[in-house]
Symmetry: C2
């Protein structure tokens, strides 16, 4: 019998609370403690534990690596927030605003070291494999973030490049979390690959869903202003697809309202959304999303454990796909 998500979540909160962050220098450790205290879904560490649990692994060997993957994820958020000059993270001030950019750079660095230290607290037999997946993923996440920044300055970005970018920036860390859990459990090589591919493809679907919700979600439910990506001129799947297929007046309208940062924000969102709707983009994005969801489920099917042990992953996948906040 595999453990439900609620039980996995509470194991992680307990492990995170055990971290000794009441250390000096305070300006190095308090931002770490602050980041980890912000309410979060702990998706990645839950996946890591679930990846271990489904193959009958001992969760004691996975708890510290699970905390490590959450610390790593928060490190990337901390540094990304400096780069994006974001004022808020999870409805609270970002570290670089609440303290300053130097504190944010350095406490981010310390978080990364802390993540490595936690990742090592597992069995000797899988240590090298776990760290290799972790570091390969870490470098891919850096590559994804750089590509995202590059795209801001680029005239033309293909859908393929966009999918590649979100794969690196977001999706591989979900696959990595699951695979580390599987490796700790001692799962067979091919199962560990399938669980990685499941996580990665769910991650891609998840990001496409995010792009969709930004425009077509209900503002209050998604917890942010509808059309935030449009107002920030973000080259999401919707924008890239629209600029690929729009022609004539529709194209002119799209380009005008997307880039006219001087116009009224409500009007900008309204007009861009109208073009998206007339191009049938809701359905196109939904279809693209389902494509990756289906690939993910195909990999889940291929894993050689009893169906019952897959229930947690399929329920997480299902919830990610219908989430509205």
């Amino acid at each position: 019998m595999v453990r439900p998500v609620s039980e996995l979540s509470s194991l992680i909160e307990t492990r995170l609370n055990e971290l000794d962050l009441n250390r000096t220098p305070h300006d190095l450790y308090q931002p770490v403690s602050y980041m980890l205290s912000l309410r979060a879904k702990r998706t990645r560490p839950v996946l890591l534990l679930a990846g271990c649990d489904m193959f009958g692994g001992n969760l004691d060997h996975a708890l510290s690596p699970a905390a490590g993957i959450e610390v790593f994820h928060n490190f990337t958020l901390l540094h990304d927030d400096i780069m994006d000059n974001a004022p808020l993270r999870r409805s609270h001030q970002t570290v670089h605003k609440r303290w300053n950019p130097n504190v944010a750079i350095l406490s981010g660095d310390a978080m990364f070291v802390l993540a490595c230290q936690l990742m090592m607290q597992t069995r000797d037999e899988c240590l090298r494999e776990v760290l290799e997946i972790f570091h390969r993923t870490a470098i891919e996440v850096c590559e994804g973030q750089q590509m995202d920044m590059d795209f801001e300055r680029m005239e033309k970005v293909s859908i393929q490049d966009y999918i590649h970018m979100i794969t690196l920036k977001t999706a591989v860390l979900l696959g990595c979390s699951l695979k580390i859990g599987a490796e700790i459990s001692g799962a067979a090589k091919q199962d560990s690959e399938h669980v990685y591919e499941f996580g990665k493809n769910i991650g891609i679907a998840f990001q496409l869903r995010d792009d969709l919700l930004d425009v077509f979600g209900e503002g209050t439910k998604v917890g942010k202003q509808t059309g935030g990506d449009i107002l920030a001129c973000k080259k999401t799947f919707l924008w890239l697809k629209a600029s690929e297929i729009a022609t004539g007046t529709e194209r002119e309208n799209l380009i005008y309202w997307f880039h006219s940062t001087n116009e009224d924000p409500g009007q900008r969102v309204h007009h861009v959304k109208a073009v998206y709707e007339s191009l049938g983009l809701f359905e196109l994005a939904q279809k693209e999303m389902e494509k990756y969801y289906n690939i993910a489920m195909h990999h889940l099917d291929a894993i050689e454990v009893i169906e019952e042990n897959k229930s947690v992953l399929s329920s997480i996948a299902g919830k990610l796909m219908v989430r509205e906040h």
Copy 2:
């Protein structure tokens, strides 16, 4: 017969040149390549190899970790330069000036991952031990950098706090390099501790020598303006000791000229240096430095290998102590 420093240096350059940094995204990898191409003494990787060689270890197992320690060191320089807003590093533009701060943050992060990946390329038998020393040191270096930034804002800093800060920020990485080399060679536990303490104490002496040279060195030889630390109001050993012992008019003079950033730079250095000289600070700093040098040599003596195998370390120590650039 242990290998001379020149041979160890050339082994490191070869290994660093083998790194595949001609990768995309270019803005992530080019700064890494740029940092590593700047002329440097490669002190830390040389120490790592020397630490392995003196115990008869196989250098093939130490070459990638040696490259890793150099990449890590350059990562800390890269992020420190952003925090210090430094325009130059090794007479070349810093990464955040040549590219921009976001590129510097992210390529620094990537360098840290790369350092971890290189550090892992060693024997399974010592993998955990090597990574534990490496990460413990990495977090200490972050702590030292934060303390250094804290000191800038603090009224009073004790000599003890200052020594603690330079130990973390600079010295432990030298000890760590040697200890990793020793661990890879399979050296005995107590020898590995002695070689660590040797490196750490040489590191402290080395930093005190740096403080001294800034004021009493010949500008052209040290490759920077004499008194740079005074002009930047840096709380070095000299300043802290002087403000501890100066009284009366001397004290007033010291404080006035140290903090008067509006006055002529040449005059500031001249007056502060005059107080340092009249307080006999050159001798006091020299004595402090020798104290740590002697502790280092005591640990070197205690290592149980034939004297001949210690020749490289004692020669490195000697050179560090008389270096004028």
